[in-house]
């Protein structure tokens, strides 16, 4: 009875796997969005656009495919604003191709593939289909240009204090000639730091490339192709299976940094200038005239970073802030913990960056049970720890602000010098914000802001014939292996094949859940995972056969065979798993993508060979009354087993 109940476990797992794979084959609905401007065009232009669209549609999908489109001519009503396309196998490559060919008509970033009920259930509406790699179906390509002017500006911020000091020495009549010479030498040295040689630019681009690589992999956007275009100071990113450029650009262009800056010393003379003016407006009952209100409006209306920066600069002029200081907004939540994170007051901080994100690593978000909020703890690099100690011992009693992007998120007082390489940031973060902040610290900030130079969709890197031939080869190889197993182990081989199929189905479902991207080599790699699974079965049957040939009764031979094989299989797979986990932790780009498949493949292999296979064999022997299990191949004679 027990084994029948046990049978429910794999049955359940397989059922779940099939459910996860279902959206790949389901009929789906695509809402192809229409550019809002199109409705403002003259009727004859509209007609021309839609006619071209439907001509292409007829040519590409009208005759052969099973896709239907609504409305079948003209523009959809302005309220709907979408063409509704229904059919199976609507892939991102197809959607991209339609968008690209009808650029005047289709609003690419608003296209939406309606999620199936399964996707709503499991992933909250996010896609659950297997993504194909750049080689198999192409994807989106973005060329991002490094903005080195902005980079130089940031550099100046770091050195601003020192430049001011050295300049002061130059003017100071009391200083000796030698001091002045030293100062001007130092100034020249600092100046040379601002000079961006091609070599220097390349180094920064390399850093940015690494960071983008890591960001994409941590977002499960595996198998990207990131390369540097030296002549254009640009980075080219190609991503497979992307249908919405807006979300991707946000990930790529995010230049958020985390840095520490010291607040102006008490009694906060500069800040009180702002506060007095704000108070005056408040007393008059004109809240909308206060600067913080104006700034909040800019943020709420999403006018962009440029407008924000300009506003802050105008404030600096208005309140006559000296150049070594800079105004920042302090972002907090309102009274209730659920209110939005918004700028709620201003702070005047040193322009000099005391500790930058490069000095921090390895950040983790954690829940702070004392304040019921999320915080982020991180490790400092050896160099950073030293800086941090100096900073905290020299500035006791002053406020040390943590600036995330251009927001002050936390502003604690320095009570004691902080030694040891660990520190934490506790603001009133939500979980999501804490994770994002931790990612910014761990992955490092982009050293240079990036602007979009070109964006387009690209076709697959392999020709359609190569793809078909390659996939066919892999599938044929798989079936040959299955046939071999049956020829060699007969009934045992059949069971091994069933557990192999289960292995592949569960693995495919797992990889789908994890947004895995399938490339042709990756596909071949999965087949090699199957090789390891075959190996596990081979080890088991060889062991069982040995037991049978010693003369043990079948049911004991089976149990003994599995027991003997258990640790061998465990050891072999666990060591490979260790190697795989190391690859995920240390590797990047292609290594990481490969390692993820490998690790999950090992997990499913262990399950199917040690659990599923065993259950089938035991069921066969103990329940159905199979008395004789012939594990000898059709094409070999009787084998001789040696004993020590």
């Amino acid at each position: 009875m027990r084994s029948f109940i046990l049978l429910l476990i794999p049955a359940f797992i397989l059922a779940v796997s099939f459910t996860i794979l279902y959206p790949n084959f389901a009929e789906r609905t695509l809402n192809l969005a229409v550019q809002p401007d199109v409705y403002n065009l003259a009727p004859d232009v509209q007609e021309k656009l839609t006619k071209e669209f439907f001509d292409r549609w007829q040519k590409d999908y009208g005759l052969t495919s099973e896709w239907s489109i609504k409305p079948t001519a003209g523009l959809p009503t302005k309220e709907e604003g979408v063409y509704q396309i229904k059919g199976r196998y609507i892939t991102s490559a197809k959607i991209n191709q339609i968008s690209q060919e009808n650029q005047g008509l289709v609003w690419e970033s608003k296209n939406k593939l309606e999620p199936t009920f399964i996707e709503n259930l499991i992933k909250g509406g996010k896609s659950l289909s297997i993504k194909l790699g750049l080689d198999l179906q192409g994807g989106m390509r973005v060329v991002l240009k490094g903005d080195f002017d902005d980079y130089a500006k940031k550099l100046r911020d770091i050195y601003s204090r020192e430049i001011a000091d050295q300049n002061a020495i130059l003017i100071d009549v009391k200083k000796s000639e030698e001091d002045k010479k030293k100062a001007s030498a130092r100034l020249a040295e600092i100046d040379s730091n601002f000079e961006l040689s091609p070599m220097r630019k390349l180094v920064e681009l390399e850093k940015a490339k690494m960071i983008i690589d890591n960001r994409l992999t941590s977002q499960n956007l595996t198998e990207p192709q990131v390369r540097i275009q030296k002549e254009q100071d640009a980075i080219e990113v190609s991503l497979p299976g992307v249908t919405n450029s807006a979300a991707i650009l946000e990930i790529l262009q995010n230049t958020e940094t985390v840095e520490y800056r010291i607040e102006e010393p008490s009694p906060y003379a500069l800040r009180s200038r702002i506060e007095e003016s704000e108070k005056r407006w408040m007393d008059l009952g004109k809240r909308e005239e206060t600067d913080i209100f104006k700034f909040q409006e800019i943020v709420k209306n999403k006018l962009g970073k440029k407008v924000q920066d300009a506003f802050i600069e105008s404030l600096e002029k208005k309140y006559n802030i000296p150049p070594e200081y800079k105004i920042f907004a302090y972002w907090r939540r309102g009274e209730s913990a659920k209110s939005a994170l918004l700028p709620r007051s201003f702070a005047v901080l040193e322009r000099k960056i005391s500790l930058s994100g490069n000095d921090m690593t390895n950040a983790q978000p954690s829940f702070n049970s004392n304040s019921y909020g999320w915080m982020v703890s991180f490790t400092l690099t050896p160099n950073g720890a030293e800086k941090f100690f100096d900073l905290t011992s020299q500035n006791r009693g002053r406020n040390l602000s943590i600036v995330w992007g251009d927001k002050v998120v936390s502003n604690p007082v320095i009570n004691d010098p902080i030694a040891g390489g660990r520190a934490e940031i506790s603001g009133s973060f939500s979980q999501e914000e804490a994770i994002r902040l931790a990612n910014v610290i761990s992955e490092g900030a982009l050293p240079i802001p990036l602007s979009v130079l070109e964006m387009r969709f690209i076709g697959p890197t392999l020709g359609i014939e190569s793809i078909e031939v390659g996939i066919r080869a892999v599938v044929i190889g798989f079936f040959l292996v299955m046939i071999y197993m049956i020829l060699y182990y007969r009934l045992g081989g059949l069971i091994a094949d069933v557990s192999l199929l289960a292995n592949i189905i569960i693995l495919a479902a797992l990889l789908t859940l994890m947004d895995f991207t399938l490339t042709l080599p990756g596909f071949a790699g999965v087949i090699l995972t199957v090789g390891m699974a075959v190996d596990a079965n081979v080890i088991i049957y060889e062991r069982i056969r040995e037991e049978i040939e010693v003369g043990r009764p079948l049911s004991i031979a089976v149990t003994q065979g599995f027991e003997n094989a258990f640790w061998t299989i465990m050891d072999a797979n666990l060591t490979t798993l260790i190697a795989g986990i190391l690859m995920i932790r240390l590797g990047n780009g292609p290594i990481k993508g490969f390692a993820i498949t490998l690790c999950w493949g090992i997990v499913t292999t262990l399950f199917t060979s040690l659990f599923l296979s065993r259950m089938f064999v035991e069921l066969l022997v103990n329940r159905t009354g199979v008395k004789h299990l012939n594990l000898r191949p059709f094409f070999f004679g009787k084998t001789v087993v040696t004993h020590v």
Partner: protein
Amino acid sequence: MFNLNYTKYKGITLTLSFVTILLGFIITFTKFGGFAHSLDFDGGLRSVVELPIGKSRTDLESFFKRSDIEAVVILLEKEKNIYQMDIGLGSIDKIEGLYKAIPDSEREAGTSSIDKFVITLRREFQLPKEKILSADQVGAVVGGELTSTGITLLLTTLGIILLYLSYRSQFKFALASAIALVHDILFTLAMIGFFQIKPSVPIIAALLTLLGYSINDKIVVFDRIRENSHGKDNLSLSNIINVSISQTLGRTINTSLTTLISVVAILVGGAVELYDFAIVLIFGVVVGTYSSIFIAAPISEIYDNLRRKRKLA
């Protein structure tokens, strides 16, 4: 199945492996000046062209294949028949060769590789100048950091495997497995250099697969050796090794064969882009299996002999 004295040949096999690896690397670096250049590792040239109606991707690909040029072709715009092609840095001498074959009268000013490539391409496909939409250089996909990451990765992996296997079985087996793994990687790298296989992202995947496969193979053999040597301290290790190898030989052959079947299918199936990948894998499987029997096992025996001698002395 085959009761041979496997450890008897250890002198031959160890020397053979060592010499082959050494020779492979020497030839790679003296004759070829290092590993082959490739698009993924070194970048190359990129050109975007509008092909005349009737010409397609197949024509481009067969031209590159015919001329032995490493190229990746991408369809950019289907309607206008616009293609982008990236040419590996290692294929520039091939382009020089094609360019030299063009009669003087048809050559144009411009001596850079990009110009030569564009002129060759225009001649081959009868393209007017305005159909060449752009010609530029293209950067590498895999940066220089890969070598250092790769070495750190390999060393850390070896360290952890050493620890795990020492804990699970015995140090001599762990050590022998680690050495054999290094052997497999070096052997395959030497071959990649010797045959000037262009290193690419799929080749990295193949190397990693081979690593996993090889670990697996070694452990299966050593597990049997450990099991057989239980309570048989008086028996010589070489005896136990020979028996264990013959006991696991059926499994070894089966596993290697089934793995090889699926890889050979890729090779025979004819996906040109996967040729190198498949060849490295086939080679890796063979070397991985060979080294379990002829490298790892004898090394553990040698180590064991040394230990015993020291104890006696």
